[in-house]
């Protein structure tokens, strides 16, 4: 590939380092990874118990694990709420972002005009709007889904636009030399060429969506994993609190893994 954006390159490297967990890992390396994890977690457990650190400051890993298991049925519905907010908000935001990126890159003039607004949308933390959105749309799903869409959409859009702008005039000429229509050129050349950057955008957008979903739930109250965080910390139920934090890290990692696998399947030609 002739062009490579910074972001694409960086995330590409990140994806590569993740892939090093996969195939090329020897038994010895796996043993070392497990041993390190056991040492860190076990060491933390021992130190916290030995120093008699109170649970409300930092609960030992075992307490977190027990709380996570025993309270999981209570947490599960909140996980469901968060997933609904995340998936629908991300779906709407990513869909609109992708669509706008595809359209706008066809018109460089229009692109210049709307670029500043997209930049503002990308750089403004959408959490700041949540109190306003609640005022407008009440305490239901709507304000949270809108916040997630606003947070993830511009991320998807700006990265996808970078991908769509990556024109290789020779490849387009190739398609044209066979009489390809504008739509065919888009579907068979521009879109596949943009795919690696689109995936980067979707991944960043999903992570931003998760952050915003949790933040909106902390502000909005009532339900959702974010709300569990505020509730558990106010009730000083720290093992449960950290249990929820673990679930959130797991969600973040899942987002990463899913897009990594999609990229490996559909965009591996880039690296």
């Amino acid at each position: 590939m002739s062009e490579k954006t910074d972001l694409g390159g960086r995330v590409g490297k990140g994806l590569q380092s993740l892939s090093s967990f996969g195939s090329g890992t020897t038994r010895l390396e796996i043993a070392a990874i497990i041993a390190t994890a056991v040492t860190v977690i076990g060491g933390l457990e021992l130190v916290l118990r030995w120093l008699d650190v109170p649970q409300y400051i930092l609960p030992p890993p075992s307490a977190i694990a027990i709380a996570l298991i025993t309270d999981f049925p209570l947490i599960l519905p909140h996980l469901g709420h968060t997933l609904v907010v995340l998936l629908s908000g991300f779906g709407i935001g990513a869909g609109v972002g992708l669509f706008l990126a595809a359209i706008i890159t066809q018109f460089p003039f229009a692109e210049k005009i709307i670029a500043p607004y997209v930049l503002i949308l990308v750089t403004t933390p959408m959490l700041a709007l949540v109190p306003l959105l609640i005022l407008w749309f009440g305490f239901g799903y709507a304000p949270r889904i809108i916040a997630v869409a606003l947070a993830s959409g511009p991320m998807v859009m700006i990265n996808s636009a970078t991908g769509f702008r990556r024109v290789d005039s020779n490849k387009i000429a190739l398609a044209r030399s066979y009489g390809a229509s504008t739509l065919q050129i888009f579907r068979k050349v521009r879109a596949p060429m943009a795919l690696p950057m689109i995936l980067v955008g979707l991944m960043i957008g999903a992570i931003f969506g998760l952050l915003t979903a949790v933040g909106a739930e902390m502000v909005g109250g009532g339900y959702g994993l974010g709300n569990r965080l505020t509730t558990y910390s106010s009730m000083i139920q720290m093992p449960q609190f950290f249990g929820v934090v673990l679930i959130l890290s797991f969600l973040g990692i899942m987002i990463y893994v899913i897009f990594f696998l999609i990229g490996k399947r559909w965009a591996s030609w880039e690296t």
Partner: protein, 262 residues
């Protein structure tokens, strides 16, 4: 080979000119390419060779003059014309076979599998159908690009410095391959190169262009029978032709340099 009389040319370039903004890339360029012949175009870098070839393919609109294929003016890409680009220009997200099928997908046309398999065999790519471009060497990529261009059975094959990026040995192999394919198909070939050896080995005619704006300076007939042997290519006649073409190019470059210095 029968020599076509003038006016019965496969490709007729008449007073072709092309301007990019302030840059006049091509001006008053006229040339006829006989059917079933191989014509090479050599000339200094930036003299408008790619511009001329893309105009023949219908990818570029000329600013002046016209180009006819079989007596019809070329205004857009035509299915009878196959194009091989300066780089192999394979789509990196498609495997070799899917790259070759790309033109058929665009045209919504059923590929002739037997012909494609024959071509793949001809260029020694059988067994690499599932490989991706980044798994293939430069020579293999360019061979795949040739198969892609030939798969539609074009009557004219336009090649833009196709082997410029390859090492000398691979390049000679590729030249022989082009000769073999031509002996099988007798496709009219217009071949752009900056290697005089390559031009002499392949062509019936070598066309020397002037520096920008490109115009035809001289046309040399290369009368050797095919397949062309090392002995013939190393012989006195080939040597003399080589020398005259080289002198043409160098004399012009010196003149262009002197003009620029003023």
């Amino acid at each position: 080979m029968t020599k076509n009389v003038s006016g019965n040319a496969k490709l007729a370039i008449q007073g072709a000119g092309k301007r990019y903004g302030d840059v006049l890339a091509l001006h008053d360029c006229s040339l006829e390419v006989e059917a079933n012949s191989i014509v090479s175009i050599v000339g200094p870098s930036g003299c408008g060779k790619t511009t001329l070839l893309w105009s023949m393919s219908g990818l570029h609109r000329l600013s002046e003059g016209e180009i006819q294929l079989d007596g019809k003016v070329i205004v857009k890409p035509r299915p009878e014309i196959g194009l091989v680009f300066q780089e192999a220009n394979l789509l990196p997200w498609r495997n070799l076979m899917d790259n070759i099928l790309f033109p058929f997908e665009i045209k919504g046309q059923k590929p002739d599998r037997a012909w494609i398999d024959h071509l793949l065999d001809r260029v020694n790519l059988t067994g690499f159908e599932k490989s991706f471009p980044n798994e293939l060497s430069g020579g293999m990529q360019q061979r795949a690009a040739m198969v892609r261009a030939l798969s539609l059975n074009p009557s004219v094959l336009l090649m833009d410095e196709p082997f410029g990026a390859l090492d000398a040995f691979t390049r000679e192999e590729m030249n022989q391959l082009v000769e073999e394919i031509w002996m099988e198909t007798h496709t009219t070939i217009v071949f752009i190169t900056h290697s005089i050896e390559e031009a002499l080995f392949l062509s019936d005619k070598v066309v020397v262009l002037t520096p920008r704006p490109g115009r035809v300076l001289n046309i040399y007939d290369v009368p050797f029978d095919r397949p062309r042997t090392i002995e013939v290519m190393a012989g006195k006649e080939a040597f003399d032709l080589h020398h005259r073409i080289k002198a043409d190019i160098y004399r012009q470059e010196r003149r262009a340099g002197a003009a620029a210095a003023e």
